[in-house]
Subunit: 129 residues, 2 copies
DNA sequence: CAGCATCCCCGCAGATACTG
DNA sequence: CAGTATCTGCGGGGATGCTG
């Protein structure tokens, strides 16, 4: 889908067993843990365990998985220092910083507009009861 | 999570059986069909079937479901005219327009940066083979 | 410390059929 | 035309255990 044109929406941008790569990238960025990782790294680089504690309630598996996905997309840089015990730093690439800033803006927007949304939800639910 | 502060990331913003409402809102906006609906409606109002055809490959169920979610969040306005056959118009609220513009910006960003991302993916995959 | 390998569950998307 | 209702699968994500 060329979102540069507003409408009509070109099909096949999105779904199916073969989801297109743009849609996949968007999926990665806006994913549950992707959002939090990007925003955290916008502050400063983090080590693995440190990031885990900072985010909270994320399993090692999901953190690893998401970090790998973001690294593969070129958004996160993985810097493994060959020492014992292992020391791995994660930081944003320039590309990642761009993405992170956009997603942070969106996250902030949801915070700002949450009262309005909550009100709308209340009204909607009331109209059905 | 207060994303206004960059780090550390406050836990419990996100996951669990009880996902917080901000996170839910973000989920709705960035969802598979949510993105496409918002972007389409940014162009002009649509009728149900018209929207269905414009987006393509979306089942009635998912379109209905996503529209209801977005309506409940106060992003989409549903205008049902009491005629036979039924005639229902969907359009963006002011809140919805704000969200849609942000998501369109993000979608456009993914398009612009896709070459760089593809390149990064190639490099990453090459390094493992 | 920073992962990888497995198992397992339930939630959401798709398919299908029906209705005001 | 614009939905609702029900069934089913499959895979994302959590829990747990192991490793260099």
């Amino acid at each position: 889908m060329k979102v540069s044109e507003t409408a009509p929406v070109e099909p096949a941008w999105h779904a199916g067993p073969t989801m297109c790569s743009e849609r996949l990238l968007l999926e990665h960025i806006t994913s549950r843990w992707g959002v939090l990782i990007l925003i955290a790294l916008l502050g400063r680089p983090y080590r693995f365990g440190e990031l885990r504690r900072a985010i909270g309630r994320v399993t090692e598996k999901m953190l690893t998985q998401t970090l790998q996905t973001l690294e593969r997309d070129g958004l996160v840089r993985r810097d493994a220092k060959p020492v014992i015990p292992p020391h791995v730093d994660y930081s944003l690439t320039d590309l990642g910083r761009e993405a992170a800033e956009q997603i942070r803006a969106l996250a902030r927007w949801t915070e700002e507009r949450m009262p309005a949304v909550e009100k709308a939800r209340g009204g909607y639910d009331a109209g059905r009861a």
